[in-house]
Amino acid sequence: MIEVEHLTKRYGGQLAVDDVSFTCEPGTVTGFLGPNGAGKSTTMRMICGLTPPTSGGATVDGVPYRRLGNPGRKVGVLLDASAQHAGRTGREILALAAITMGLDTARIPERLAKVGLDKTAARRRLRGYSLGMRQRLGLAYAMLGDPAVLILDEPANGLDPEGIFWMRGLLRGFADRGGTVLLSSHLLREVEAVADRLVVIGNGRILVQGGKDQLLGEAGTLVRAADPAELDSLLQSMGITGSRSADGSMLVPSDPQTIGKAAAAAGVVLLELRPAGAGGLEEMFLRLTGNGHGDSKLEEVTR
């Protein structure tokens, strides 16, 4: 269980994290989404007691991280897979963690095998690891103390598609056994398949959060008209504000039936009309976090 309450971090005049609150329940995977620089990493570092918050707080199983005497046994953390000594072997990195946590180092070969690192890789120094191998080592590191909570910052970074698939299975299994997972990404597709809940952050603020299915359902309707201007005026007359994507289609916060009926009555020719679904979530995510859409669009979609 992770509880984040009104976490705020200010650097000078810049609000990096602004009043962020969410809860991660046992048995669930929470996808923490946002573009680079949205405040995901800062939020996670604050949860792990590495960065002091300006205000607000976070607890893991009801205890602030810094008061967990031996946190590695409760929370597995992977914030940056490359933040390891380049001159240490993979096995040595895990050995240091095991000794620190008071665990037998005998478990290390099995743990390395579990994340797909063989004996050769175990003896290699980290400088010779690809980013994907570092992520695998980082996952083994985070799970070494058999914690009930995992906090992972962009763990899919550098993994190949097969690796991402494998990691999904690993995290899904972990949550299904009652574990709590907080998993960040700047790509919705990466977490969509495994997350139960989504927390979307942009410019330090939570834009939207909720169950994935609920958010998918609320993603709206995708509609494309032969004449975009006609569609615009139709939506305007209905009091609906949509958002346009690059291919000329509109994402509107309404159901297909309502839009279809109104279009028929107004004689607007539609080329496409369907529930936005996962694509809509992606669309929404891109708009919420995205490039070149501006803040006004962001406001439209979030209300």
């Binding site: 570092r45 590495l50 002091p52 008061r67 031996n70 380049a86 000794i99 620190t100």
Partner: protein, 251 residues
């Protein structure tokens, strides 16, 4: 592992074991230790090969043999702190042990232990060299004033802790190494040039005050001067370094 021990703070002994291991488990650390060992052997070889017969004594081998570790062990101390930041391991170190002061205490303990180990190893090496010196015509006497053992040990510990202090204060490997070696020397030179500072240098120049430890039976006055200069060069950097490490945001 029982449920009870799971959430207790990580014991300092365990952290010290980890910090000792970290001194030697990287290439940089391993080579540094190896070089110290080889250089110490080298000091004995130099004395055996080129020194006057009368200088080839156990105490001669021992005191000269301590020079490499006195010079290079502090670098290991510097690396033990600065590498956490330059290699960014501080992120995982302080994630596993949020009480940063305990990690720093473990580093100090590891530094003291490695200084003791180096002194003992140098003693053993000096004994071997002295055994060789006898048949080769050296003096080979075994007299070593007991005060020298403790004073040598103290000197090693002071330098290692000074290294850790400089490392913690600067948190940057090349900068800390350069400043560690340059600053005291600059201070010594200034103390010699500027006559007004000569009196202050007697108390504040660690290069001067520590010399007393190389001769048997340092006096109370010499210890007082050593204490003052150690406060300046070891305690002050350690205090500032601790504060910096405890406060610095890890990213």
């Amino acid at each position: 592992m029982s449920v009870l021990t799971e959430n207790r703070a990580v014991p300092l002994g365990r952290l010290t074991v980890v910090e000792l291991r970290k001194l030697a488990d990287t290439r940089a650390g391993f080579w540094l230790l190896l070089i110290i060992g080889l250089a110490t052997v080298g000091t004995s070889a130099i004395l055996l090969g080129w020194a006057e017969d009368a200088e080839q004594t156990f105490s001669g081998f021992f005191l000269f043999g301590l020079v490499p570790s006195a010079v290079l062990l502090p670098v290991l101390g510097i690396l033990s702190v600065t590498s956490e930041w330059s290699q960014r391991t501080a992120l995982t170190t302080f994630t596993l042990v949020p009480a940063r002061s305990r990690v720093m205490l473990a580093k100090l303990a590891a530094g003291v232990l490695i200084a003791i180990a180096a002194t003992v190893a140098t003693g053993l090496l000096a004994a071997v060299a002295n055994l060789i010196a006898g048949p080769l015509g050296g003096d080979a006497s075994w007299t070593l004033d007991s005060s020298l053992i403790w004073q040598s040990l103290l000197l090693q510990v002071i330098f290692v802790l000074m290294g850790i202090g400089f490392g913690a204060m600067l948190l940057n490997t090349p900068l800390a190494i350069v400043i560690y070696f340059a600053l005291p020397t600059v201070w010594t030179v200034i103390g010699e040039i500027v006559t007004k500072l000569a009196e202050a240098a007697k108390w504040l120049d660690l290069n001067v005050t520590s010399q007393a430890l190389s001769e048997a039976d340092a006096t109370g006055g010499e210890y007082a001067r050593l204490a003052v200069s150690t406060a300046l060069w070891v305690i002050v950097p350690l205090v500032f370094g601790f504060i910096r490490v405890l406060r610095r945001e890890v990213s």
